[in-house]
């Protein structure tokens, strides 16, 4: 073996040793990292799922009071109570009719406005855009009190139309701002390319602009639906006692029944949100709609 070869071998060994050492330190680092991640996940689970678990246990517990670590027994009685309550069935029905209508009307009113905000420059455009926040800037109850006097004058108190109007107020910001951003994000050249290909303006809007803004519009629709579905203050003021929706009905339940009933009702109330969120996740976050925005 010549000297150069020997040196080479020694060098190689040293290098091997180094990599081995690096590997152990790397493994240690990974373990620490993993532990941290696990702690973080547990923390998140406790904070997010904990309250839900508490609700779930309550919904099936005979009674569960402070010193006891576990409920005294299990029962479906509370579910029975809730489902046998006639007023509740009506409330569910009201909610399922009113919320989709609110989303629909809100879309009809707001989407053209959103398109205008995104594509045209008109007088006081920014002022109007920021002005939409006005309904969210003041305490809701004050706004609703004023609204109530107006509704009395217009005979809108205790009507479905009144409830829909009140709920639309809460969706306007979502339904205008998010779609406006979505419309604005559609590159003009994509619309021009469609016109160049021979598409009329209306065809361009439906085939390109609306199609590409759809993820944003869907997000806005989901958020509006949830906002409407959860809206209680205004709905109670305008609707009660003629019309109860699920959230307003919950007030009555919480006041009149033990908290297990409220737990059952909370779970029922969260079902539509969860379903919507899962649907939105599937259609918006994954797939081609999200991918579409990678292109310049």
């Amino acid at each position: 073996m010549t000297t150069t070869e020997q040196t080479a071998v020694v060098e190689q060994r040293t290098r091997l040793g180094q990599t081995a050492r690096m590997r152990t330190s790397g493994a240690l680092g990974t373990i620490t990292g993993k532990v941290l991640v696990i702690i973080f996940v547990i923390f998140m689970v406790v904070f997010i799922l904990g309250p839900l678990l508490w609700l779930a246990v309550h919904a099936f517990a005979q009674s569960w009071t402070f010193p006891n670590l576990w409920p005294t027994g299990w029962t479906l009685r509370w579910w029975q109570t809730v489902f046998s309550d006639k007023a509740l069935g009506v409330a569910v029905q009201n909610s399922l009719v009113i919320s989709p209508l609110v989303v629909l009307f809100s879309a009809v009113i707001c989407l053209p406005a959103a398109y205008a905000f995104a594509r045209f420059d008109f007088f006081a455009r920014r002022t109007f855009l920021v002005g939409l926040f006005a309904t969210n800037a003041f305490p809701k109850m004050g706004l609703f009190a004023t609204l109530a006097s107006l509704f009395y004058a217009l005979n809108l108190m205790n009507t479905v139309a009144g409830i829909i109007i009140v709920q639309i107020l809460g969706t306007i910001v979502f339904m205008t701002w998010i779609p406006a951003a979505a419309f604005a994000a559609v590159p003009r050249s994509l619309e021009e390319a469609a016109r160049d290909a021979g598409a009329s303006r209306i065809r361009v809007f439906f085939s390109i602009t609306l199609r590409m803004a759809m993820p944003g519009i869907l997000v806005a629709a989901v958020m509006s639906f949830l906002a409407s579905f959860d809206e209680a203050q205004g709905t109670y003021l305008v609707g009660a006692p003629a019309y109860f929706t699920m959230p307003t009905e919950m007030y009555t339940l919480v006041l009149n029944y033990p908290k297990q009933v409220a737990a059952v009702f909370s779970i029922l109330l969260s079902i539509p949100s969860v379903v919507l969120m899962l649907a939105a996740r599937k259609h918006i976050m994954g797939g081609q709609l999200a991918e579409g925005f990678q292109i310049r």
Binding site: P187, S189, L190, E192, A193, A194, R195, D196, A197, G198, A199, S200, R203, S207, I208, R211, M212, Q288, L289, E291, G292, F293, Q294, I295, R296
Partner: protein, 394 residues
């Protein structure tokens, strides 16, 4: 596509007849075009004729109005006055969707929610063609741009060069009377750019399609165009063949925009710069260096050498001026004393070419827009030039 690439360069003689005297009904005619935007004149009385089958570049710095012109041809902007005729038909009043032109956008503008196939099929779908015919034409045009294997990919999944070809296919499938390309290569990297521009030229030649390209890259314009319209401040400074533009620039602007030029204040007499009120322009390849005295040469010193790959850029200091020269072969060392001779100079008065002469001989030719016939002669008049490719960018 590469099999027929060899013909791309040889195809400088267009099918439409660059030298043809007879006015064809096809192509593009623009007369008296004006456009003001935001109180500023963007296009100022622009006239342009593109013969059928010809490829013309609108070349100019940013803000010269070339894109505005293209957008008016495409129908996205309405001119304040003037007319645009495509294939003999006045289209000035028509919207983009009713014009017989098709455009390839700078950012390709592919619809991300459609597959490559659907992108290309969309224009035909709008024309309500029967499905089998759409299928056939799309397949054919995708084959032309070599993209059949990406038929079902989405634009986001393919490379920039491929996206560009989809955009081209989408324009070609319409079988337009006029193909418009807006900075088609600006989003590609340097290597790909050369290949794609050859491809574009080759397809354009094969289909014989009248084409207008907007570009700010003189290299790009020189290598694909039958004629180039050099634009500046909303006007066409010169409209000539690439060779003519280089050899006989009508204005100082064109001379400096196309290639490199020694720009010297004064006059020109007997191969030297003399006092005067004009501007003398000398192309670097028209400056020659020799170690022994030659007729018309002045003593010169090598002041600076910049290697440029297949040639060297050398600064030669003479008693009248310092001249930039492109030298190939054996390059003199820094500080070498020798002789420098100018074989061709152009004199500009108020920015316009007034005199162009080779050393010794008098050439009375003026840079004349559109006069294509003399292009070859200017190049041949100094065959002794050891200069490299004249179109090398500075």
């Amino acid at each position: 596509m590469s099999t027929t690439r060899g013909t791309a360069d040889g195809g400088r003689q267009p099918t439409g007849g660059l030298h043809g005297a007879g006015q064809t009904t096809g192509g593009l005619q623009i007369t008296g075009l004006n456009k003001e935007l935001g109180g500023r004149t963007i296009i100022d009385d622009l006239h342009l004729t593109v013969n059928e089958g010809e490829l013309v570049s609108l070349l100019g710095p940013s803000g010269c109005g070339k894109t505005t012109t293209l957008r008016m041809i495409a129908g996205f902007l309405t001119p304040d006055s003037g007319t645009i005729k495509v294939a003999g038909r006045d289209v000035t009043a028509l919207g983009a969707e009713r014009r017989p032109s098709a455009m390839v956008f700078q950012n390709y503008a592919l619809w991300p929610h459609m597959t490559v196939f659907k992108n290309v099929a969309f224009p035909l779908k709008l024309r309500k063609l029967p499905k089998p015919e759409i299928e056939e034409r799309v397949t054919q045009v995708l084959g032309l741009v070599n993209l059949l294997h990406h038929k079902h990919s989405r634009p986001g999944q393919i490379s920039g060069g491929e996206q560009q070809r989809v955009a081209l296919a989408r324009a070609l499938v319409q079988e337009p009377d006029l193909l418009l390309l807006d900075e088609p290569l600006s989003n590609l990297d340097a290597k790909l750019r050369v290949k794609v521009r050859e491809d574009i030229r080759e397809i354009q030649q094969r289909l014989g399609i009248t084409t207008v390209i907007v570009t700010h890259d003189q290299d790009e314009a020189m290598s694909v165009s039958d004629r180039i319209a050099v634009m500046n401040a909303g006007k066409i400074e010169q409209y000539s063949t690439p060779a003519e533009l280089y050899e006989r620039p009508r204005t100082m602007f064109v001379a400096t925009f196309i290639g490199t030029i020694n720009q010297l204040d004064g006059g020109y007499r007997d191969g030297r710069i003399v006092a005067g009120d004009d501007v003398v322009g000398i192309r670097p390849e028209d400056v020659h260096f020799s170690s022994t005295p030659v007729a018309g040469a002045l003593p010169a010193t090598v002041e600076r050498i910049i290697p440029r790959g297949h040639f060297h850029e050398v600064f030669l200091r003479r008693e009248d001026a310092t001249l930039r020269a492109y030298l190939t072969g054996d390059v003199p060392a820094l500080g070498t004393a020798g002789y420098a001779r100018v074989t061709k100079a152009m004199v500009f008065r108020d920015g316009v070419l007034v005199d162009e002469r080779a050393a010794g001989a008098h050439n009375d030719a003026r840079g004349d827009a559109g006069g294509a016939g003399v292009a070859g002669r200017a190049g041949a008049s100094h065959a002794d030039a050891t200069a490299p490719d004249a179109r090398t960018r500075a």
